[in-house]
């Protein structure tokens, strides 16, 4: 008696046939998401987790700003305030901006190079889970009686030792950040390998879009720099077991070297992917291909290499690093940064602009990042840094590059690729509301902080006295924070209405340049199908080429060289 396999019926699969009330059961729905090997789902999981944490860390920031709005306030107590800024910083850097950037790469790079999947799907999923569980561990410090880690996101010893940071918060932070970093390493390696070794036929290195090149540069820095953080965390862990390790200065300054060797490249890991996204958005909404492609590619790689040599500029004030050298290399970063910057500007200048929400965020990125970058050059000069280091000037600088810069790039990317990822359109009006509130909020919050730092307000203080004269600027900053909260609410509302109204998005709503716009929205399991096939891979903007061949592309105007843009 056998159940010989009969030829499969051609009928479509029927829903569940229960003997009672029925709801069709889709195979492996939420469990399928948690154990998926589809790079798009892993990328989405990473980005969604990062967005949730973004909101949580933002709440921490709002709480801090509410305390700092007026002098002499102490709603939370110093210990709690220390935990808040430490977890806000750690969360944003280790658990939001870096993973979101890598997750964006996990999602987009295979699509942009015409591959059906990422290089090592299970390792990528493993990386995601290490990151997610690491974030949970780090945040669970708040549930401990002594509270979460309170020594700041760089956690210098000897304050991070068990003598000065007793309790379970710091060990939980160490283990959580370690796991999240290993996860980021795994995902970063997978993205790098995909871009280098899994390109489709016809996709040469110099036909890859700018975003993919920015991911390559970012993941190269991940591989070069993240192990240094792991070493630094191991050192902290050893110090937790034996605090006398930090009695010698060599280990204290050694920790700073180990930490900042990671700590500087990571800010570029948190910058390049968003820069790449902004480049894509600017090109598409300027109706042309990206200006200065080859120069940008080279400068991305040079920037990545050079960024590994500047870490000592975080240690100017210790007097134990060779300030001249680090200042030289830090200022030298202007060169590749400038090339990329001019490429962005050149793309806009030669284009026929379309002002949709992604473009608004991308355009705002340009001046805001300039402020952040130039103030970075300012503090790259030791003499200036002696005055403003560990003050609100630095806070303003880092928030300008990471928030006014990278986060604007994040939202540009989000609004740009949302239709592709979900198959739904976001609301344009709510998008503009979000944008306006965010521009006002960002500049109102962080611009006064330059003044505060110059006037001498140190960073990481729970409160400040009346007579110091910091009141007005702090009040402005806190009002700005309120605007930012409103902006985030507008964004959340926009997401919610998109999933409720379900306006379907076509495969190519923006007339994009790169390959992901040739796939359906959302892309199926292996990205490209016979009904939505890979177009001919003719350049770094194959869809633009196809439109031009079909005569559907209206060239903006002729550039000074007489070339058609």
């Amino acid at each position: 008696m056998t159940l010989a396999p009969d030829p499969p019926a051609d009928s479509p699969p029927q829903a569940a046939q229960p003997t009672g009330a029925s709801r069709p059961v889709r195979p492996a729905s939420w469990l399928g998401w948690l154990t998926t090997t589809d790079h798009k789902r892993v990328g989405l999981l990473t980005m969604a987790t990062a967005m949730v944490l973004f909101f949580l860390m933002g709440v921490l920031a709002l709480l801090m700003r509410s305390q700092l709005a007026q002098p002499g306030q102490n709603f939370f107590g110093s210990s709690m305030y220390n935990q808040m800024f430490s977890i806000h910083g750690s969360g944003m850097i280790y658990m939001v901006m870096t993973p979101f950037a890598i997750g964006l790469g996990v999602y987009l790079v295979p699509l942009q190079i015409g591959a059906p999947a990422v290089a090592m799907p299970r390792a990528t999923l493993f990386g995601y889970w290490l990151y997610a569980l690491g974030a949970v561990l780090m945040l669970s410090g708040f549930a401990m009686p002594t509270g979460a880690h309170a020594d700041g996101w760089f956690s210098y010893p000897p304050m991070a030792s068990s003598t000065y940071s007793p309790g379970d918060g710091t060990p939980l932070w160490i283990v959580g950040v370690f796991m999240a970093t290993v996860g980021a390493l795994l995902m970063g390696w997978a993205v790098l390998w995909t871009a280098l070794r899994k390109r489709a036929r016809g996709m040469t290195m110099l036909r890859m879009p700018v975003f993919t090149w920015s991911m390559i540069a970012a993941t190269l820095m991940v591989i070069g720099a993240f192990p240094s953080l792991l070493a630094a965390l191991v050192m902290l862990a050893v110090g937790r077991a034996d605090p006398t390790v930090f009695d010698s200065n060599a280990w204290n300054i050694g920790y700073q070297h180990l930490f900042w060797f990671y700590g500087h490249p990571v800010v570029y890991v948190m910058f390049f992917p968003y820069l790449g996204a902004v480049g894509e958005v600017l090109a598409v909404f300027s109706r042309r291909r990206f200006f200065g492609y080859k120069g940008t590619v080279i400068s991305l790689l040079v920037f990545a290499a050079l960024s590994m040599s500047v870490w000592g500029h975080h240690m100017f004030a210790t007097g134990q690093a060779t300030n001249d050298y680090y200042s030289l290399t830090s200022i030298a970063l202007l060169v590749p940064a400038g090339i990329e910057y001019f490429a962005l500007v050149g793309t806009v200048l030669g284009g026929r602009l379309v002002f949709r929400t992604p473009m608004l965020f991308a355009l705002a990125f340009i001046p805001q990042f300039l402020i952040g970058g130039l103030t970075g050059i300012m503090v790259g000069t030791p003499a200036l840094d002696y005055h403003v280091t560990d003050s609100y000037f630095i806070v303003a600088h880092l928030h300008y590059v990471l928030f006014a810069g990278s986060a604007f790039g994040l939202f540009a990317a989000l609004y740009f690729w949302f239709p592709k990822v979900t198959g739904l359109m976001l609301d344009e009006r709510l998008g503009r509301v979000h944008f306006t509130l965010m521009v006002i909020g960002t500049n109102l919050t962080f611009l006064p902080m330059f003044g505060l730092g110059y006037l001498g307000m140190p960073r990481r203080v729970a409160t400040y006295p009346e007579w110091a004269g910091f009141g007005l600027l702090n009040l402005l900053a806190s009002i700005g924070a309120g605007f930012l909260a409103a902006a985030m609410i507008a964004f959340a509302l926009n997401l919610q209405q998109a999933f409720r109204r379900r306006v379907p998005a076509p495969a190519d709503p923006w007339q994009g340049n790169s390959l992901e716009w040739a796939a359906p929205s959302p892309p199926p399991r292996y990205n490209f199908t016979t009904t939505h096939p890979l177009p001919p891979l003719t350049s770094n903007a194959p869809l633009l080429d196809a439109r031009m061949r079909q005569g559907r592309h209206r060239a903006p105007h002729r550039t000074p060289n007489g070339e058609r843009a």
Binding site: L34, A115, W129, P171, A200, L258
Partner: protein, 127 residues
Amino acid sequence: MSGPVPRWLRRHPGAVVVGGWACLNAVLLGVLTAYGESELALLLWADAFLVLVLACCAVLVSCSRGPLELTRYRVPSTGGAVVLLTACGLAVGGLMFVFGSWLAALAGPLLLVAAVLALRRRSRGSV
């Protein structure tokens, strides 16, 4: 870039990039040494350089062993449950550093179940 691409650049672009990067690093390291930075900083640089060299070698070896651009891919589609269980087991194992080694009693079974699932999958011969 304007002008024709030189032949050596066209034939071994990967080697050129890696070589160029190595040279840049050598220059920077030399300058750093000249400025008199501490041993630890130089060691840090050398180790990171080594890691990246290994990564580059892996890429170059893989390039020489297969086509540069592909039409056929191997995409493992199963094994997600093993990954999830392993990650949870390692997370509980990481907690051992915080709460003590008794957590091995929780981490051990999780990792064991993951290992059993992985071995069963391999013995059944699925991808």
